[in-house]
Symmetry: C2
Subunit: 413 residues, 2 copies
């Protein structure tokens, strides 16, 4: 498997476009479209928030009723959440507008929205944007990049990645190259126990829909669900994976070696996007990585790791480059899973020798200068050895800064 350039247009048969629809932002692109040349099998995971935004409800209906789709239309600026029946009507009208422009059925159109909760989306501008994008669809890397930029809100960088790997050819003669790429956005209102913000993955792999969903559900718990920016699980979180089968591989129908390869590629793409998202949290200046090893169960390892990257006190301490390791211990201590405080060990990860913060039930004396040097890196990494079993998990977050407060003190204006 190797990383390749591009995002949603990396896989064969996928096109993308973006435009300035003027939905809320001015002077920047705020709408994106992805379209496959043929209908795709679709898998998805969605927010667990009870206030599911209208496009989330729309996409869930499409997935459950049809299980396939051909196009995705996404806007930034307004979330179409807490908008009642009119919000649902608007989804239908938007899908119909896209269907007309693309000459497909509206039941093949998925939708995504991100932005302020409450206001209504302007159908006229949405429709105008859709018509312009339908005429500009392109399979170039650039088109995918533009799409990844158009869905940004408070993100400071666009997020896309892609990989290529080999699978047995459908005709039995050797292998073919399969591609899997994606884009995502997310900066605030990001927290585990959901899928994530908006994420759109495309692949030309031929794979059955049940296995597509199985692979997606398998990788999400250790990728998108292991990041946190602020502990707030959004109303709009959506992760979609479209597979159009254009690579020419022998269709994956069972959990064989090809499935394992596909799942590994999916894991890599999801983890890359998740880590970029965590590091680009609202106002963030640092990426925080917390790895918990030798846990008794996988879920306990996840809970402990997430508790640390979600802690406001840990996040503020990283911003201040303060090696106040008691805060990490504290966050482990209230996470829930039981462990022995007298036997665990806590380290700050260093390229040469890890710095021991805690051992034998006590905070250790450590080299403050070295700690400061490690805290001055963009990525700050911690390791906790629970000495209980063989499970491990890693969570990613970001620091809490003045800018987070600034951004969220006046988000609507």
């Amino acid at each position: 498997m190797k990383t390749i350039a591009g995002g949603v247009t990396a896989a064969k048969g996928f096109q993308a476009a973006a435009c300035e629809a003027g939905i809320k932002y001015q002077g920047r692109m705020d709408m994106a479209m992805i379209c496959s040349t043929v209908p795709c099998a679709v898998a998805g995971t969605f927010t667990s928030n009870q206030f599911k935004a209208a496009p989330v409800l729309w996409d869930q209906t499409i997935l459950h009723q049809y299980g396939q789709a051909q196009a995705v239309v996404v806007n930034a600026g307004i979330a179409n959440a807490a908008t009642g029946v009119p919000g649902l009507d608007l989804c239908r009208q938007t899908a119909e507008a896209a269907a007309a422009a693309l000459h497909i059925s509206s039941s093949l159109v998925l939708l995504g929205s991100t932005g302020v909760i409450g206001p209504a989306l302007p159908l006229d501008r949405m429709t105008a944007g859709i018509n312009r994008m339908a005429a500009q669809l392109s399979d170039t890397t650039e088109a995918g990049t533009l799409a990844s930029r158009a869905i940004m809100t408070t993100d400071t960088v666009n997020k896309e990645t892609a990989v290529a790997f080999e699978l047995p050819a459908a005709d039995g003669r050797g292998t073919v190259t399969v591609r899997l790429g994606g884009m995502s956005k997310g900066s605030g209102m990001i927290h585990p126990n959901m899928c994530t913000m908006l994420g759109y993955l495309t692949t030309d792999c031929a794979i059955s829909r049940p296995l597509l969903q199985k692979a997606l559900s398998a990788v999400v718990p250790d990728t998108f669900n292991m990041i946190s920016v602020d502990g707030d699980t959004s109303t709009n979180d959506t992760l979609l994976l479209l597979a159009n089968g254009q690579a020419g591989n022998r269709c994956i129908q069972e959990e064989d070696g090809s499935y394992a390869l596909f799942r590994d590629a999916l894991f890599q793409v999801c983890r890359t996007l998740a880590v970029i998202m965590a590091g680009d949290g609202e106002g963030a200046t640092h990426l925080i990585e917390m790895r918990v090893i030798h846990a008794d169960t996988k879920e306990n390892a996840r809970q402990l790791a997430r508790s640390v990257v979600s802690s406001s006190l840990v996040k503020a301490m990283i911003y201040g480059k303060d090696a106040n390791c008691g805060r990490i211990l504290c966050a482990l201590g209230y996470a829930g899973p039981a462990f022995d405080p007298f036997s665990i060990e806590l380290y700050m990860v260093s390229p040469d020798q890890n710095l021991c913060f805690y051992r034998d039930g006590r905070v250790q004396n450590f080299d403050e200068e070295k700690a400061l040097a490690l805290l001055s890196e963009h990525a700050v990494r911690f390791l906790c050895d629970l000495k209980m079993g063989d499970e491990e998990a890693t969570a990613w977050g970001c620091d809490l800064t003045y800018d987070y407060v600034k951004i969220n003190g006046d988000y609507r204006s």
Copy 2:
């Protein structure tokens, strides 16, 4: 029942003192002592964090083994947490020093510490402080106030309150006045699912120890456990209630009217201290109150209310005086308890007419100017009507500000 002046010395037979022990802070008092003229029945609740600080372990042992105490010694600046066996030894030595100075048994001495996790407490300075305080014990209101100031860390105001109420006299002739007062500290690392930061309550009420604990356990879930500053459950949270029986009331031995009166007084004292603590959260400029009514169960009402006051996005929005009610809906939606998003209503509480934010499944148009005026008050109050049952709960928190980040970016120095 009426509110009276004072705190821990309001009840008969309780004395207090404070001193500059120079443990970590310079030029301010950092140690406090409370002492009763006679041994007291004691009730307590403690942190659920697995890294329990040494003084928490000490106090739990005293409570479980003896159930009574006569003195409390508290220091600010160093938490004596994650200090291993030496930290436990230091507790014993501190209690022995206090016992010697007060001529009581060391098993009657309770301890409390708050501050940085990791460093060792200096026994010599602790002992010197104890000796000075033992010589200065006083039952004046001022002595109680000094004690409440000495235990502050990043608190900006000291926290004390007291009430008086009438109970039947022990000799059967009319009633006697019973007093209950307390002090607490807490500004950061404050979150429900624990008791709270440090809280010390004293009463001259005669009451059996089981009922004392029962009353305390009954009021904590709706008072101290309903506040959150930053979602971090401390390693040191301790709430102690000492009853010395000096009021001369007929000892409360069963859950009768006297018990109900006592529990009501305890509720008022605990709620007052809890709300002051929430409003004095680190860096806070606003108190946030979230009341959830007509819930199906009490616990669901609590969870929903706490989710809102714990949300970073809600907290930042209050700081920015931004009436972005979607964030409150979002926090309700991921809280856990099920409800119908199409039937609930959300209001901003106003002295005249409440402002409707959300009804009929949609965000409502509301008077932005009026919302801004309400958001400019110190206390900002919201009300959610779930329309499910008869239970309700209220949670209190504070806004997220630049100063919170500043305070916690460099807490150790």
